[in-house]
């Protein structure tokens, strides 16, 4: 089927629509009221859940900070708290602003451009977060050993050998997979921007 054939079928669809006009004034009026505005409640999205988890983690370290003896462990604790806060902030900053209050009267290509820019921004932030998560892993392992077994890493060598190895293997595969996905979507968004600019 070519575009001209599609055009003929589209003509049939148009006639069908004309013959079955369904909206009445009362319906239209109801739809203009804010309470019938669909899409009112966004359910928690992964980024928000991530932020909550980071906050719980940071809170836990703050509450148990007194258990961290020595400058080395305290520094690890402070770095972990800062990383968790930073990652939360990045997650929130990267959230695409898909609000419907935008100017709907602008040209279609401008809206597409905005989405492409948002997508690029979102994925770049997520890549930064992924890199920070490596640092967080190191710090978390140091702290976990202290919090849960009461020993620092030097007295608990099996714990850190296993946790570092498994943690890094997991992060390595996870980040490869995520990067592949991000790179693909970033490329698509950049291509779209280039196309819109041409």
């Amino acid at each position: 089927m070519e575009l001209e054939d599609l055009k003929n079928t589209w003509g049939d669809v148009t006639n069908q629509v004309k013959n079955q006009q369904k909206l009445n004034p009362e319906m239209i009026e109801q739809m203009t009221r804010a309470k019938y505005h669909s899409r009112l409640k966004k359910i928690a999205c992964p980024e928000i859940i991530g932020v909550i988890i980071c906050m719980i983690g940071a809170g836990y370290i703050v509450l148990n900070f007194s258990k961290l003896a020595g400058i080395f462990l305290q520094a690890a604790g402070i770095i972990s708290i800062l990383l968790l806060l930073l990652m939360s902030a990045i997650s929130l900053l990267s959230l695409p602003r898909f609000h419907m209050s935008r100017d709907m009267n602008r040209p279609y290509s401008e809206t597409l451009k905005e989405f492409a820019v948002q997508k690029i921004r979102f994925h770049k932030f997520q890549k930064i977060n992924l890199m920070l998560s490596y640092l967080l892993l190191v710090n978390t392992i140091i702290l976990l050993s202290m919090f849960f077994s009461g020993k620092d890493l030097t007295g608990n060598k099996y714990f850190w050998i296993f946790s570092f190895s498994f943690g890094y293997i997991f992060l390595l595969f996870y980040s490869k997979w995520v990067s592949k996905y991000y790179n693909k979507t970033l490329r698509q968004a950049e291509d779209q921007l280039k196309e819109l600019a041409s």
Binding site: E2, Q30, R39, R106
Partner: protein, 163 residues
């Protein structure tokens, strides 16, 4: 005629635009109904910005297509919606079963196009001139022509590959 009456008349005269856009940009009936509501709500909100320099239908296409993209992006991020009253849930496809099948044919052919090309094709199918398509999409008339040529080639290749 007050603002609300003018708006209702405008919608009544052009409701086909809303239904066709909603059907082309969504894959299921509930999503479509949501989009129809959203388009009408946003048209109402933007009604004051309609300056009458362009045709009413041009303005409606522009707003409706923008809302459709927002809706598409938001529904990917899982959004719950507020349903209309029961009495208002009987939207067109329910009274004409052939409608949805025809729209499925269009979606099948147009889903491989990017959102800009999809919008351009829809306007082309609506017999809009290159000038109007340019006004609605915000790209130049020459670009519209080039894109339509490319889309025709793409669709031709798509069909050749299928058979």
């Amino acid at each position: 005629m007050n603002k609300k009456e003018s708006f209702i008349t405008a919608i009544k005269n052009n409701e086909g635009i809303i239904y066709k856009i909603a059907s082309l940009y969504t894959n299921d009936v509930h999503d479509k109904d949501d989009l129809v509501q959203e388009i009408i709500y946003q048209l109402w909100k933007s009604f004051d910005s309609f300056d009458q320099r362009s045709a009413l239908s041009t303005w409606m296409y522009r707003v409706s297509m923008n809302v459709a993209i927002y809706h598409l992006k938001i529904s990917k991020r899982k959004v719950v919606t507020v349903p209309l009253d029961e009495q208002f849930s009987d939207l067109p496809e329910a009274v004409n079963p052939g409608w949805e099948e025809k729209m499925a044919v269009f979606r099948q052919h147009l889903n491989n196009l990017n959102l800009l090309d999809k919008g351009i094709v829809m306007l082309y199918l609506e017999n809009k001139s290159y000038e109007e398509i340019a006004q609605i999409t915000g790209i130049s008339e020459t670009n519209v022509g080039t894109r339509i040529f490319r889309i025709k080639e793409k669709l031709k290749n798509q069909i050749t590959k299928q058979f």
